[in-house]
């Protein structure tokens, strides 16, 4: 076997196109570009929303217009022009009373390409999928099975129509309109997203899943997810994201709110593979996401994320550990290659007694990318016996990339125990040599080592996702031998 040199790898990487970069030609119902109060009202009207929702949006828009775009993150990008984005893009044939058969066959073919054929998923994996293409939920599967248990799982626009009391009560309660620039923008213009309510004591029998794609050129995607787990319930929620490759940067500003009431448990897993831009750093998605969860007494929220995509990522899934004995977990793998930039991490705010949190973050940087971990662990004076453990490991490949760690640790209670450790290293030549010796080529060896490095997090992913995530890791890092 001829030696697979670094140059070969480089060549292969350069010719490697974004696998999911195709564009489905569906007739879209798109708003003209630009943002104003009228557009916000129009979105609300278009979606047939009640007056309180319209007012809420308009209020958010007013707050947003007075806010300034944050600059503290360790990322550099040219700011999106918010007046050059179309804020609403729905596939034309969408119909609230659709069944799977009504869905545009071309769209179905898109999913087929993505490997999430609805039929297949329905039959084989028992996963209920709420698919969002360009902001409007197209098909929600397994609704009936879930209905029997009293679980509500639908698009957020549907929820606004059918369960306004729940939406009204919880929306914006965890991530208020005033929270930050992108959350305010999202509150004003969000077009769709998922809503999920698990009633008291119910264990959701299947993993709930959403697949997001940005399809239309020049559209921003602003989805909103609201997940309420009532007392003693359990749910595992999967979220996957891809976008076709496009030249201009696309904006994605989502808000996710989780509420775990007493004794409830929410497991939220994300595999994010938005288009990262090409090897010149052109194009790619701006991913500015606000994710936050609230834990009441004995509740648990666990965030697991695999971030391989997006040109710029700005994302901090957080837990507010309000109740006694509440538990927050954060497991993350962030991979950056070429010109990607990621500034991601978590916030653990300990308010309740005996609250516990665990943070495991693995950053892998290759090419000319920059990868930052930014996290906050805050122990309030009343959080007796709070416990935190954080570990942030970075792996560097090549000498043009960067790995950064910005942990914030604030302790105001003497009984708190906090540990934080971080390491930075590269893949050892001896490790690769060992693999080569045993007939494993360099690229496979790297995949193997990276998988080992990320294992603690990969283990936390649900089965179907773990396989996909491993594949993603391999694809993202191809040809980045250090």
């Amino acid at each position: 076997m001829s030696k697979f040199t670094e140059d070969d790898l480089k060549k292969e990487l350069e010719t490697k196109e974004y696998e999911y970069g195709f564009y489905t030609d569906i007739e879209s119902d798109t708003f003209p570009i630009g943002l104003s109060e009228e557009v916000v009202v129009a979105i609300s009207k278009k979606k047939n929303e009640p007056q309180w929702m319209t007012d809420w949006r308009v209020d958010a828009f007013r707050i947003w217009s007075e806010m300034e775009e944050p600059e503290w993150a360790n990322v550099k990008y040219s700011k999106p022009d918010f007046q050059a984005i179309s804020y609403y893009s729905a596939p034309k044939k969408a119909d609230p009373n659709k069944t799977l058969d009504d869905v545009d066959p071309e769209l179905l073919a898109t999913f087929e390409k993505l490997g999430i054929s609805l039929d297949e998923q329905k039959k084989l994996s028992g996963v209920a999928v709420d698919v969002v293409v360009d902001s409007v939920s197209v098909a929600t599967t397994f609704k009936k099975t879930l209905n029997e248990k009293g679980i509500i799982f639908c698009s957020i626009s549907e929820a606004i129509q059918e369960h306004p009391e729940l939406v009204k009560k919880y929306i914006g309660s965890i991530v208020p309109k005033t929270d930050n620039f992108y959350a305010a923008l999202n509150s004003a213009v969000f077009t769709d997203g998922s809503f999920c309510y698990i009633p008291k004591g119910v264990k959701c029998p299947m993993e709930l899943s959403t697949y997001f794609r940005i399809n239309q050129g020049g559209t921003g995607q602003f989805e909103r997810t609201l997940l309420v787990a009532d007392k003693g319930s359990y749910v595992s929620y999967l979220e996957g994201c891809t976008a076709p490759s496009r030249d201009e940067n696309q904006l994605h500003a989502a808000v996710v709110e989780l509420i775990a009431m007493d004794d409830a448990e929410i497991k939220y897993s994300t595999v994010q593979n938005w288009f990262p831009g090409d090897k010149e750093g052109k194009g790619g998605v701006f991913n500015f996401v606000t994710k936050r969860g609230l834990c009441e007494t004995n509740a648990k929220i666990s965030w697991t994320q695999v971030e391989t995509g997006s040109a710029v990522t700005w994302k901090y899934p957080s837990c507010i550990l309000k109740g006694a004995n509440s538990v927050g977990e954060f497991y993350s793998i962030a991979v950056t290659n070429n010109y990607q930039q990621a500034d991601t991490g978590t916030k653990m705010v300990h308010l309740g007694k005996n609250s516990k949190s665990t943070i495991i973050s693995k950053g892998i940087s290759a090419g000319k990318s920059q990868n930052s971990y930014r996290g906050l662990v805050q122990i309030s004076p009343r959080a007796e016996n709070a416990r935190n453990f954080s570990q942030c490991d970075s792996l560097l490949m090549g000498n043009e990339c960067g790995a950064h760690t910005f942990p914030y640790i604030e302790a105001k209670n003497k009984s708190a125990i906090i540990e934080h450790e971080a390491t930075t290293s590269k893949i050892g030549e001896d490790q690769i040599f060992y693999c080569n010796q045993r007939g494993i080529d360099t690229e496979k060896a790297i995949a193997l080592i990276v998988n080992g490095f990320s294992k603690e997090v990969l283990n936390k992913l649900p089965m179907e996702f773990a396989v996909e995530a491993q594949k993603l890791l391999e694809i993202s890092l191809e040809g980045s031998v250090g």
């Binding site: 000498n399 990339c401 760690t405 942990p407 640790i409 003497k414 125990i417 906090i418 590269k426």
Partner: protein, 437 residues
């Protein structure tokens, strides 16, 4: 009038008062402009997120001491390490005190900044080294604009300073609130060695605001060992800005012992400009009352094959606050860097606060960098073990605290200084352990 405006408008009066050369005049004028631009830092700045100077800045500080205070050696003897044969440079309210000092020197220069800035024989060194690495920010620029006095230490090539140098600043409280801006320059040329001990002491209960800047150059194979004792009264505020530039195979260590003061802020900045360099930043902080100490460190690795070690231990009681904000930057060229950072804290009271932010910014791949941070309490079982063997609770706690801080304490290379620090700690904890660690 706000302090900032007062400082800017008094600048001309200050310049008229000091004897100044053209070069220094230019540096000062630039600096006051820069201060006017940046002003005092606020909590909005990321580096000052956890420390607010507002409570200090509202005082009406007098900028120029009107009279000179005289103090007798017997009154301040306790602040010297008397059993240590050393050079002594002593300042009272920012003015050099010749009768308390002892600077008779041979081969090396142990002089005053006021002489260095005005006399021709120092010009060659001042031109090359003065105000070259101090970065431009509000407080540093303010110091540069108003700097007139401080220690000037020059160690020529292939020389070791024969004894340590003590730099002591006393504030006597002649004014209701006074502001001091000492400026030190330490140049250790190739193949040299020097040990410096610095202390700031407020002798009254009047307000003192010290904004100090120290620039340290370590040439090839030079060893600089710098100790800072910060055990001031609760009316004294100290901003210590230290900048160190290191060249190949040099070792520069700064040990900070922070035991008191209203607000103490240490900005340590290390720049490694050669290979085979080692930088050591150690600190022990033991606080009670409302004291606030903020350690803000930066180590920038610019060249390959260097090391840096940071070890900060903190013990916080009552309503005290500790901040650690450490940053390691590894530049793209700085392969084979080993950089370590550790910050361990013990909280003894529910009102005490620790904010820690250990940061890494790494641009090179073949490096070993790690940081660790812990916050916890004294081990109950260890306390019980000692109590069951007849050791009183206070002593048992003190023993554990000593053990906790020992990693740093044992790096003190001057035995007399080590004894002194142990005594300060023993006094703070109210124990007499009757042994030397």
């Amino acid at each position: 009038m706000e302090l900032k405006e007062k400082l800017v408008s008094s600048f001309l009066a200050f310049e008229a008062e000091v004897d100044t050369t053209n070069d220094i005049h230019d540096i000062r004028t630039e600096a006051i402009k820069s201060f006017e631009k940046y002003g005092f830092p606020t909590k909005k700045l990321e580096a000052w997120k956890y420390t607010s100077l507002n409570s200090v800045l509202k005082n009406d500080f007098s900028l120029f001491p009107k009279k000179e205070a005289v103090i007798e050696f017997k009154d301040v003897k306790q602040y010297f390490i008397s059993d240590l044969d050393s050079y002594k440079i002593v300042f009272i309210d920012g003015v050099y005190s010749s009768h308390l000092s002892g600077t008779t020197h041979d081969k090396i220069d142990v002089c005053l900044m006021s002489s260095a800035l005005t006399q021709d024989r120092f010009k060659a060194v001042i031109d090359v080294y003065y105000n070259k690495i101090a970065k431009e920010d509000g407080l540093v620029s303010l110091n540069t604009a108003y700097a007139r006095e401080g220690a000037y230490i020059y160690i020529p090539k292939n020389t070791a300073a024969d004894k340590p140098i003590q730099i002591i600043h006393f504030a006597t409280g002649l004014e209701q609130a006074s502001m001091l801006q000492p400026r030190n320059l330490i140049v250790a040329e190739d193949n040299t060695e020097v040990t410096i001990i610095e202390r700031h002491q407020n002798l009254s209960d009047k307000k003192v605001f010290t904004n100090s800047v120290t620039e340290i150059y370590t040439g090839k194979n030079a060893h600089v060992d710098y100790y800072k004792i910060q055990n001031d009264t609760d009316t004294a505020t100290l901003i210590d800005n230290t900048f160190a530039e290191q060249h190949s195979n040099s070792l520069c260590s700064v040990h900070t012992f922070a035991f008191g003061g209203e607000i103490t802020r240490n900005n340590l900045n290390f720049f490694q400009k050669g290979q085979g360099i080692d930088s050591i930043l150690n600190g022990v902080t033991i606080l009670e009352g409302k004291a606030h100490v903020d350690h803000n460190t930066l180590v920038e690795h610019q060249q390959p094959n260097c090391e840096s070690h940071q070890d900060y231990k903190g013990i916080f009681d009552e309503k005290s606050t500790g901040v650690f904000n450490g940053k390691i930057i590894v530049d793209q060229e700085a392969q084979k860097t080993n950089a370590f950072q550790s910050n361990n804290n013990i909280l003894l009271s529910d009102k005490a606060t620790v904010n820690s932010k250990p940061q890494l910014e790494i641009f090179a791949d073949d490096v070993k960098c790690s940081h660790g941070c812990t916050i916890g309490q004294l081990d109950e079982s260890a306390l019980f073990y000692m109590r069951s063997r007849g050791i009183a609770p206070k002593e048992a706690k003190a023993l554990l605290m000593y053990a906790f801080a020992n990693n740093v304490l044992e790096t003190v290379k001057v035995p007399q200084l080590k004894t002194r620090i142990n005594k300060i700690i023993a006094k703070k904890l109210g124990v007499n352990l009757g042994f030397d660690l």
